[in-house]
Symmetry: C2
Subunit: 110 residues, 2 copies
DNA sequence: TTTTATTATCGTAAAATTACGATTAAAAGT
DNA sequence: ACTTTTAATCGTAATTTTACGATAATAAAA
């Protein structure tokens, strides 16, 4: 027990959940905001902007990378992070589809 | 250690993260899909549609409720679940804003 | 009133997450 | 070569999540 029953769900649900989970921490939202702010992506100064230690930020970056939402290329001494355009679009679309499915309830109970 | 440093982030980031976290499990996505499928909201048969035990489903429902995304009203013997329109819209908007911020990178590194 | 159906909660266990300091690795600068 | 800078990884600890069976709690049905 304790581990998610991944195999039992549809690929679509697993994929959306994966992206949503990556977005499910304020530190990672903050990191993404920093990356979204700039058109260039030399960003070795993410740590300074967050109230967390270097190792913790690195861990959050790793999770965003593992979810596919960001990429990190070594650029000399620093690492160059940026949003992964494809994954970003996929996440946006998948979530948009789900959110768009809502139609107001016609029964009196809610 | 182990607990999220909630106070140190902006309310916006905490709020989006809260919604995203609630969406961050395939079972909860599946539950939301079931609720989104119908215009009425008498839904006591969520358990049958999922590969999880009754207590586990109940726990997932609780988390969706605590995040604000769904409501549950007692309707006789059963409980009537449905999407919370306001929270749903807020979550959609907050995520949409973040996703919309992306502009392709103009440097060569990614 | 007793039974049945439905959902929540409790207790428990395994696993994952969050966080930090310390260490390592790699590249650049001296 | 040595030092410095930058980021990842390791080791560790607390907390949270995921999951289940068993047990309440509540309301309808018999």
């Amino acid at each position: 027990m304790g581990a998610t029953k991944t195999e039992e769900f549809t690929l679509a649900d697993i994929t959306v959940a994966k992206y949503a989970k990556a977005l499910g921490h304020p530190a990672r939202i903050a990191i993404l905001r920093i990356l979204l702010e700039r058109t260039s992506c030399i960003c070795g100064d993410i740590v300074e902007e967050l109230p967390l230690s270097q190792s913790t930020v690195s861990q959050h970056l790793k999770e965003l990378k593992e979810a596919g939402l960001i990429k990190g290329d070594i650029e000399g001494k620093k690492v160059c992070y940026c949003i992964d355009a494809q994954a970003w679009q996929e996440a946006q679309q998948l979530l948009q589809i789900i959110f768009g499915k809502y139609k107001p309830c016609d029964t009196s109970c809610c």
